[in-house]
Amino acid sequence: MAEFLITAAGFILAMVALGLVRILRGPADADRMMSAQLLGTGGIAALLLLGAGTRMPSLVDAALTLALLAAFAAVAFVNSAGRG
């Protein structure tokens, strides 16, 4: 069961990696603004799965922090890109 959860976490991270390739390459700033959201959602899923798989309940707190800070980073990106 733990192996399955860790595999799922790895799979989601692979999806995030693929998404990052596309987003960071994107020719406009508009595409790159999305990276905070991609990493936020994917990172939270990976952290929750790793927390359950490796028996580390503190990772849920890390996921909480990541959710807040990813939202904040996205706001900072949008603020800067929309202003220029």
Binding site: L20, L68, G82
Partner: protein
């Protein structure tokens, strides 16, 4: 190859690729986005290394608050982007950079691949005294009991950094308010976020501070979360940045290090050493110090991102 090993290898490769891309990215905005992505992925690496406190700090400060500082800096540097993109460093400079990087890499690789055997560690000695302190998290014990001088000095360094940022303003603006961070047009979604997220963020921040005594967390991470929420409120336009000459701003900035210092100096009188805690009172003192420290850190980090004052002080 076990699943965990494959995960770690993939994560390491991903972090490397994002780092290389960030260095080579052209526009400054793209590079900052890459840096924030790198920071968030690095937090995952710290999690895999079982250092969740560091992971929390990396996510909160390393990519969140630092990303905001870099974005603000990139916005200020917009006019210099074209000239700096046209610069080409000389071949000798590039060669020197490559040699330096290879040397650093070789040094680090040597340290990791051929550690001293048995590896020197103070972890058992640190864990011995945890019950006396009544603190369950060894990291908090190290930060606020064993090596509290370092933590105190770090907070003073943060304050000095803030004063350094303030000193970038012209003399006549000293004591005024930092420039408004608001977007060009009011955005309903942003105002909604600025109203809904900060209360949740404050609860999470206080929770992270409280749980830091027995589980990963602590003052620094909690302060960064609170700072991010305060910055969100300011960016959404719901509150103006405060004038840095205001008394309460100055008070909040200094309160954390001051309380820390006061407890430290009181240590001379009671148990007999700077920053020693009287027996049995360690945990309440640690919690009191951390609580005030969190407020100070939040205000310091928020003002660091807000930048130097850009208006005169209203008398």
């Amino acid at each position: 190859m076990s699943v965990a090993l494959a995960l770690d290898a993939g994560l390491a490769l991903l972090v490397l690729c994002v780092a290389v891309w960030t260095i080579g990215a052209g526009p400054t905005f793209a590079a900052v986005v890459g840096f924030v992505a790198f920071g968030l992925l690095l937090a995952l690496v710290w999690v895999r290394l079982a250092a969740v406190d560091v992971a929390l700090t990396e996510a909160a400060i390393g990519s969140g608050v630092t990303g905001a500082v870099l974005i603000a800096a990139a916005a200020r540097l917009r006019l210099t982007e074209a000239p700096s993109a046209a610069e080409r460093p000389s071949a000798t400079l590039r060669l020197a950079a490559v040699v330096l990087c290879v040397l650093v890499f070789a040094g680090l690789a040597g340290l990791v691949l051929y550690p001293a055997n048995p590896a020197p560690t103070l972890a058992p000695a640190a864990a011995v005294h945890l019950p006396e302190l009544d603190v369950g998290n060894a990291v908090t014990a190290v930060l606020l009991a064993y090596r509290s001088v370092d933590t105190l000095l770090e907070k003073v360094v943060l304050l000095l950094a803030l004063v350094g940022v303030w000193s970038l303003a012209p003399d006549r603006f000293w004591g005024g308010a930092p420039g408004i961070l608001r977007p060009a047009r009011t955005d309903g979604a942003l105002v909604l976020l600025g109203r809904l997220l900060p209360p949740i963020g404050i609860v999470v921040g206080v929770y992270i501070l409280w749980v830091g005594a027995i589980a990963p967390g602590g003052a620094f991470q909690a302060g960064a979360i609170l700072a991010a929420m305060w910055l969100l409120v300011m960016i959404a336009g719901l509150r103006d940045p405060p004038e840095i000459g205001h008394r309460w701003v100055r008070l909040l900035l200094v309160a954390g290090p001051a309380v820390f210092l006061a407890v430290g100096l009181a240590g001379f009188a009671l148990p007999g050493g700077f920053l020693s805690y009287p027996a049995g009172h360690a945990k309440p003192l640690i919690i009191a110090i951390e609580a005030v420290l969190t407020l100070s850190i939040a205000v310091i980090l928020g003002l660091l991102v807000a930048g130097p004052p850009e208006r005169e002080r209203r008398r």
